[in-house]
Amino acid sequence: MQSKNAEIEDIEIRLLLEGVQQVYGYDFRDYADASIKRRLALWLSESPFETFSEAQSRLLRDPEVFVSLLQGITVNVTEMFRDPSFFRTVREQVVPFLKTYPFVKIWHAGCASGEEAYSMAILLNEEGMAGRYRMYATDIDESVLAKAAEGVMPITEMQKYTRNYQKAGGARSFADYYTARYDRAILSPGLKKDIVFAPHNLATDAEFGEMNMVLCRNVMIYFKPALKERCLKLFDNSLLPGGFLCLGLKETLERRKMGERYEELAPGSRIYRKRYGQ
């Protein structure tokens, strides 16, 4: 009986995602099953509904219920200078190339609440690139983008972010980048100057043109192979020759056809440079 219930729940989830796609146009059918099931189960347990079938009828009629589901499905936990070694490699090995251009364009795909976008802005500004770049930070979820644009973080995280910043090769006082107000840290407005936050759906939208750098870290790990392939093609089409593709530390181009056109900067860095003349 228990195992029968589990089968029914699998069917309910398939129907739910189908309904969401048809009514709201968001397609989660190509998200990897195991993670999306966990996230949906968590959403259901915090919702007033007993089963996905019960949720379905409200979900399809009430956009507010959909917004809460969207947030439940797409929540991306992130932090400032997450994986400090990554940011250190960018500082030491990528920025010298970027500096050779008068102006660079950067696409940060799946930026969530903006922690990594602001980290990159801090790094680029420290390296003397303020005003010489534009960063397009995109996400599928507009409410999370609104939060990102605010640039306000919980003050309790700042100790950890300061440690990350230092491990990433930051040598200034991290406290100069925010103002503490009660339980919040308000990031200095200067960091936003060169960032544009915009909605973008990797499953359905088109590429951004002529990028010098694309960051998409720990986003595609939630996708099935076909959707992953689609994203990589978008990034490949967006990147100029000599441009950089930055993936999460456990993501690789190794077993992929387009990998031939890229060279990894340092082994294991997961920063790939697009070759010239391709």
């Binding site: 228990q2 195992s3 589990a6 990897a32 099953d33 195991a34 993670s35 099931k37 966990r38 996230r39 929540v75 991306n76 936990v77 720990n218 790990i221 939630y222 192979p225 992953k228 999460g248 530390l249 456990k250 993501e251 690789t252």
Partner: protein, 202 residues
């Protein structure tokens, strides 16, 4: 005495005292052990992949850190990478997630067990070894719900008994054994003779 039941995979959860326990357990398995083995060991987020390399050097069976989209194949041990959850996908490959910690852990034993139970059902063997918290207790409930087999290290034998105790409190487990008896049990469950010496005798 080979088991008549067919299993598809072994999932192991282990926390403090884990390196020593895994060395003993995996070191006793043959190079061609017929089931894939998926392991969550609680580990510091910045630990790197040294653990998989260390164990691979010490054991006959192949041990690697799980990469996203790794196909799950027999005679291979996959270790969850630091700071990522390890999950099993229906199509027979592994996936990783950077979702928040579960039971304060990432990787979490619960996450591995629940997703493995959903895919392998009664063909899953889940093992809880030494550890200092209760991660895995929810996971073994999912394994039992889907008809899988649960083995727990005898708390008296464990370096740190809390994790085995939490699993024992959560479900009726199938086997409670000391670590030293586990390799033979795993061979038996995979349809092999319990001891290498018995191979070929029936």
């Amino acid at each position: 005495m080979a088991s008549s039941r067919k299993f598809s995979a072994v999932a192991i959860g282990v926390s403090s005292g884990g390196v020593q326990a895994l060395k003993l357990l995996l070191g006793e398995l043959p190079r061609d052990y017929p089931l894939p083995i998926l392991i969550v060991q609680h580990i510091s987020p910045d630990a790197g992949n040294g653990m998989a390399k260390l164990l691979d050097d010490l054991c006959a069976i192949r041990i690697k850190e799980a990469d996203e989209q790794d196909r799950i194949v027999p005679a291979t041990v996959y270790l969850a990478p630091p700071n990522y959850h390890l999950l099993v996908e229906r199509e027979g490959f592994l996936s990783l997630s950077a979702d928040p910690p579960v039971s304060y852990a990432r990787p979490s034993v619960d996450v591995l067990f629940e997703s493995a139970a959903a895919v392998f059902g009664p063909q899953l063997v889940a093992i809880v070894l030494t550890g200092a918290n209760w991660d895995g207790a929810r996971g073994v409930q999912a394994v039992k719900r889907r008809g899988g087999v649960v083995i727990v290290q005898d708390p008296a034998d464990a370096d740190t008994p809390q994790m085995p105790q939490a699993a024992l409190a959560a479900v009726d487990v199938d086997h409670v054994v000391p670590l030293a008896a586990m390799p033979a049990l795993l061979r038996r469950l995979a349809g092999l003779a319990a001891h290498p010496a018995e191979a070929g005798h029936g």
